[in-house]
């Protein structure tokens, strides 16, 4: 069993009080919706509708482009307006299906019908999850049906629900646990039914006692589900650290959690499994936290995927003043966006708007070798030396320093007193190394 923590990590101000007591509000926007065909790791999906086609809520508009890929499902009813490259969260233009939303939310037949998962075979459950287009909604977007189909299913001993939500400001998972805990537990039961010998561990940081209490009540009769309370610190929710903190098992960048007998799923993903299997509702909506000091009324929304960020921010009362920075996701690993005019996708956990950009306030100065980066690195690397290698474009030295074990959590950059852009250098070098490997 794990000790509930790991060595390293940081404690930024968590900002969760802005939105943690705000109930989830369901949004039903009436405007144009954009569905990028690549919202997940793996091959992009292929559009299966044509311009002018009428679509319904729950209709597949993009079919998985391979095994590691995922379907894209329409979250609204209306007509297909265009199929063209559109700007996405990452800044890249991605082929997208654009739907003229009629605002009526007419659904496909059978949508939302209750179903007893116990009557389904494991293969049927996996197929439903695959059809529903479910991917890891914590940020990486790894297709869930692939995760649930490990090479050696009998080796899986734990299914971990990643409810750490260690990124500052994010409260979407927390609200979902408070408001729909039965869906979380139900989804976990379904996942466990695929692995009869596995144990379910709901991993929650100790700064969310209310969620722990609610879930404890629900699982008291489940022998194979436990709650593992973890120490609140960033990056507790990073897969490798979560598995270690909860089970004591370690794995590195070349391995998957399944290699140490674990499957890790985020809260929203587990709930999506429940909705897909027990309520015949594919992945068409997700919970998004809108927060930051430039948002008028920070709160949590249940948003149809494909909605423009601008529209979600409008629903939160709009922006106050002139924000300098807009972030999709948390402030530690999220992506800064120059415009709000991009669609919410499966992996969008939050929209943050800040009046000040902290990054521009700190000039980079010489490294004083204080060792803070070494102390906080959750992968036990030496970022100070990695940065020298990265600066010299010495990819070989970077790899020797185990630079590829870095998962870009940003802790080193957060603590660096010299304001050095360590994570940025590592991102570039890691991409360069991966590119070079691909060319071989």
């Amino acid at each position: 069993m794990g000790k509930g923590t790991f060595s390293g990590g940081v404690h930024p101000w968590d900002g969760k009080e802005l939105s943690k007591d705000k109930p989830i509000v369901r949004l039903e926007p009436k405007s144009e919706m954009v569905f990028p065909m690549a919202q997940h790791i793996g091959a992009p999906a292929n559009p299966v509708v044509a311009v002018g086609d009428a679509v319904l809520v729950g209709q597949c508009i993009g079919e998985a482009g391979g095994f590691v890929s995922a379907n894209i499902i329409s979250s609204v009813s209306g007509t297909v307006k265009a199929i063209e490259p559109r700007q996405t969260v990452s800044g890249a233009k991605v082929l997208s299906v654009v739907i003229d939303n009629d605002g009526e939310y007419k659904t496909v037949p059978g949508f939302g019908e209750k179903r007893d998962y116990k009557t389904l075979t494991p293969q049927e459950i996996r197929d439903i999850i695959k059809e529903a287009g479910i991917v890891g909604m914590g940020g990486a977007g790894f297709p869930t049906h692939v995760k649930l189909t490990p090479k050696n299913p009998n080796d899986i001993e734990y299914i971990l629900v990643n409810a750490a939500e260690c990124e500052p400001y994010l409260t979407s998972d927390y609200r979902e646990m408070l408001e729909e805990p039965e869906k979380l537990v139900g989804g976990l039961r379904i996942a466990l039914s695929l692995f009869p010998d596995a144990e379910g561990l709901i991993c929650i940081e100790n700064n969310k006692p209310a969620a722990v209490a609610v879930l404890n009540e629900l699982i008291k009769n489940d022998k194979n589900i436990k709650i593992k309370v973890l120490k609140a610190k960033y990056p507790q929710g990073a897969e490798r650290n979560l598995v270690y903190a909860a089970t004591g098992r370690q794995f590195n960048s070349t391995m998957l959690p399944a290699d140490v007998g674990c499957i890790v799923q985020n809260v929203d993903t587990i709930c999506a499994i429940y909705r897909a299997v027990a309520e015949n509702t594919p992945l068409v909506r997700r919970i998004v936290t809108v927060s930051g000091d430039s948002v008028k009324e920070p709160q949590n929304f249940n948003v149809p995927i494909g909605t423009s960020h601008a529209e979600v921010v409008e629903a939160a009362g709009g922006l106050v003043g002139e924000p300098k920075k807009i972030i999709s996701g948390g402030p530690m690993m999220g992506v800064a966006m120059y415009t709000l005019d991009v669609p919410v996708q499966k992996t969008s956990s939050a929209i943050l708007a800040f009046a000040e950009d902290e990054v521009e306030q700190y000039e980079s100065s010489p490294c004083i070798r204080c060792g803070r980066c070494v102390g906080v690195c959750p992968s036990h690397l030496v970022p100070q030396k990695m940065e020298i290698a990265a600066r010299l474009f010495d990819n070989e030295a970077f790899e020797k320093l185990s630079g590829m074990e870095c998962y870009e959590c940003g802790s080193c950059t957060y603590v660096c007193p010299a304001g050095r852009r360590l994570t940025q250098a590592f991102k570039q070098t890691r991409r360069a190394v991966l590119d070079a490997r691909r060319k071989k």
Partner: protein, 325 residues
């Protein structure tokens, strides 16, 4: 597109601790020891501290201007170096000596090697050792002029107490016994900033509280040195002698303020322990088997030179490498 928001790589927040705040904390932590030095040795001590600090800051400023090096936000590191140099001066030293030492520290030890973060040994200690080699006699004069004319103003409480020549550590070396109370609180002869273990520990506690230093280096250093004293110090398990050894000389100042210098100590956690142990052994060797009573400065600058090697040997094992399965 009306307005574009800022775009940068994550993370988008910072801890707020900067090089300047760290150096400021170190300077604050040095204040108690400096204050006691001024109380003990009078205005003369204050003058020496000011001269060394100002010389360091001015030397750095002029050098950076002449070399047209970019001036970032001012980070106070030269001020810390200057304070440490002043604290390492005997109160009787002529004022040009701290000036020479400060220029040497900033120019030769620090800037020539690339400035902040690039010096291979602690600039203040480099200067101290340089001065001890070049001006041995002046640097070893601890005789305080007594009760003559303005002695009390110039030389503070020490001139009243009639502190004689030798530093307590030299007295220990000569086989005399000293008062542990005086040594701990600093009512002895010696250089301005190192006489009072109590004041140095007070400053160190502040640095630990502010998370400026970790205790790995000082604790490994002091523990190793203690073991060395008990086993090889020639006094057997004499804890009074051990306590006197710990409280005298530059040991406390060295362990908490000089050995913990970021730039010249290992960055790896394991390396910091190795570094501390090495310091303890070297200090013991120099103090008990060397010619001088004092050994801390040489121990630290020699260990400074071994830092790259220590780091290479103590690289941490990446998380998950060679783990289960």
């Amino acid at each position: 597109m009306s307005k574009m928001y800022n775009v940068s790589a994550s993370p988008h927040i910072r801890s707020g601790v900067t090089t300047s705040t760290i150096m400021r904390d170190v300077a604050i932590a040095l204040m108690p020891a400096c204050a006691l030095g001024v109380y003990q040795f009078g205005l003369r001590a204050l003058l020496i501290l000011l001269v060394s600090t100002l010389t360091c800051a001015a030397t750095e400023y002029i050098y950076l201007r002449l070399m047209k090096r970019q001036q970032g936000p001012y980070e106070c590191s030269a001020i810390v170096t200057g304070m440490l140099i002043g604290m390492n001066m005997p109160p009787t030293v002529p004022l040009w000596i701290p000036v020479v030492g400060s220029v040497f520290a900033i120019l030769v030890v620090k800037q020539v090697f690339g400035g902040l973060g690039q010096n291979f040994m602690n600039p203040a200690l480099g200067a101290r050792c340089f001065l001890f080699l070049c001006y041995a006699e002046r640097m070893n004069t601890f005789q305080i002029p007594q009760k003559v004319g303005n002695a009390i103003i110039n030389y503070g409480a020490a001139s009243v107490d009639g502190i004689s020549g030798a530093t307590p550590l030299a007295a220990l070396k000569a086989g005399e016994t000293i008062s542990l109370f005086d040594a701990f609180f600093g009512f002895t002869g010696g250089v301005i900033g190192e006489t009072s273990a109590a004041m140095i520990l007070l400053g160190a506690a502040y640095m630990v509280y502010r998370k400026v230093i970790s205790l790995r280096i000082p604790l490994a250093y002091l523990l190793t040195f203690s073991v060395f004293v008990l086993l090889l110090g020639g006094h057997g398990f004499d804890f009074y002698f051990l306590a006197c050894q710990l409280c005298t000389g530059g040991l406390m100042l060295g362990a908490f303020f000089m050995a913990t210098d970021y730039v010249t100590s290992p960055i790896t956690k394991g390396g910091q322990i190795v570094f501390g142990i090495l310091l303890g052994i070297l200090t013991g060797l120099f103090r008990f088997y060397g010619n001088n009573a004092e050994g801390v400065s040489y121990a630290i600058i020699i260990a400074n030179l071994l830092v790259p090697l220590i780091e290479k040997m103590t690289m941490p094992r990446p998380f998950g490498k060679g783990g289960l399965k």
